[in-house]
Amino acid sequence: MAEVNGGEPLLKVRGLDGWYGESHVLHGVSLDLMEGETITLVGRNGAGKTSTLRAIMNLLPRREGEIHIDGRDMMKVPVHRTAHSGIGYVPEERGIFASLSVSENLMLPPKVAEGGMSVEEIFELFPNLAERRNSPGTKLSGGEQQMLAIARILRTGVRIILLDEPTEGLAPVIIQRIGDVLIELKKKGMTLLLVEQNFRFARKVADRFYLMEDGHILESFPTSQLDAKMGRLHEVVGV
């Protein structure tokens, strides 16, 4: 596990409940994300993984509980100020804007802190984005869209990135590439919260796993115990 900053997590979630209208989707979710650490939420579809990320970004219609980023209470922070606490979001559907070119997509999220990557560094990390900087965002392949969705967050200077199923629907060689990028980011000290169904991918980057079912966190364990937990995971996740 990465270094622990005085024992206090960079992202701390306690007793988080969330709702879509009448539907109660999160039940007392608690998790800790230490600075520089990568954790992965696993669970079957509808377990509440995406809802957890959306609740942290304040994108759920209703949420209750506690969320702290770097000690700061996030529950009263409006949506458009949440990112300014140093947190970036890469949604499952990637959210590449069709009416914006690749470079407009890249430049879209405002800088929230110093220390983000420069456009040159980003194009070095993702050379194929550089080649296609003037094409419309949605003319990219799925893998390129995923890379763009990650790349645009790297510019903003955030310390925490929430990634929702970054490998979904992608070819193995692209998954490999995204894995390399995430490992690179970890080396630079980035803190990552990953939702992932692909255990083989997740074990390469994650320090710990949280297992979710029906909007609850069932348990948390370090990656070293992944093999021992595989039977239980297959039972809960059903993969």
């Binding site: 994108l59 949506v79 100020r81 990112a83 009416s99 914006l100 407009e104 430049m107």
Partner: protein
């Protein structure tokens, strides 16, 4: 005399020019409507009233403060934009979560209230408004006598339309607008104040209507119902161009203005309905409009 299809050339060119001038107003107004609809998904029925407010702001500035056309060209759109921003923040923004019809009903009611108030206060008759002295007189183009002011309106509207188009297509703010049109929640999650963006957009669209109103004041006089007469045609323009398409609204505005002018030459009886006939045909063949995308 040169004849084209049995029409004297000067008459043809004259009507073309008049069509171009009318088209300038169609383009300015449909541009504002398209900007508002694109981001807010509100069909702004108050657009005609905001156009009228712009004209009245210029008129009242002249009567009460002595400020003439040029200062009014700046001040009146700002006033209309500011009033509209307050209306958006206090009232219209509460309707975004409801069916889009409520936005339409609200702005329709708002237009009736604004126009009714002005009619009660000023009567239905038009007030004359003097154009700028600098642009008095006209130029003989050979085929017609063009009042300088009308030439100015054509040029001004092209410049304004191009500026707004560049603002939306080429700037960072415009990228926020386009992105928020597609996925406002994600743009907000990136740290952009989308509610503020919506307010500014509504103010921009309404301010454009106000600007068109000032430009129209010396040509059409200032009257409480000047907007409601025009807005129906402008809605047809937006439908033909495609809802939410900025470039489409501009181009369609000019083209329909010119087509209307030509109809006056070739078949004057149809000139009042030609825009609506085109709208009906376009709706049958391309329901999303000439430049629109399915939404």
């Amino acid at each position: 005399m040169t004849m084209i299809f049995g029409i004297p050339l000067p008459a043809l060119l004259g009507q073309l020019l008049i069509g171009f001038i009318n088209g300038s107003f169609y383009a300015l107004l449909s541009l504002g409507l398209a900007v508002i609809f694109g981001l807010l998904r509100v069909i702004n029925f108050a657009h005609g009233a905001q156009y009228m407010l712009g004209a009245f702001a210029a008129y009242l500035l002249l009567v009460h403060t002595g400020l003439g056309f040029w200062p009014a060209l700046i001040v009146a759109p700002l006033v209309v934009g500011a009033i509209s921003a307050i209306i958006e923040r206090t009232m219209l923004s509460r309707l975004y979560d409801l069916d889009h019809l409520y936005g339409l009903l609200f702005t329709f009611g708002l237009a009736l209230i604004i126009e009714g108030t002005f009619r009660w206060y000023f009567g239905a008759a038009g007030q004359p408004y003097a154009g700028p002295a600098l642009l008095a007189g006209g130029t003989n183009l050979g085929f017609m006598f063009l009042p300088n002011y009308r030439g100015f309106v054509v040029v001004a509207s092209i410049v304004i339309c191009l500026t707004v188009w560049l603002l939306i297509e080429k700037t960072r703010l415009g990228a926020y607008l386009r992105a928020a049109t597609e996925n406002p929640q994600l743009v907000q999650a990136f740290g952009v104040n989308v509610p503020l963006l919506l307010t500014l957009t509504y103010a921009l669209g309404a301010g454009l209507a106000g600007l068109a109103g000032v430009l129209a004041a010396p040509i059409y006089q200032v009257s409480p119902l000047m907007g409601s007469n025009l807005i129906i045609i402008v809605f047809a323009v937006v439908v033909v161009g495609g809802m939410g398409s900025i470039g489409g609204a501009i181009v369609t505005g000019y083209v329909l203005g010119i087509l209307e002018g030509l109809t006056k030459v070739f078949y004057p009886e149809a000139s009042n309905i030609v825009v609506f006939v085109i709208m009906a045909v376009v709706l049958m063949l391309r329901p999303a409009g000439l430049f629109g995308k399915e939404i």
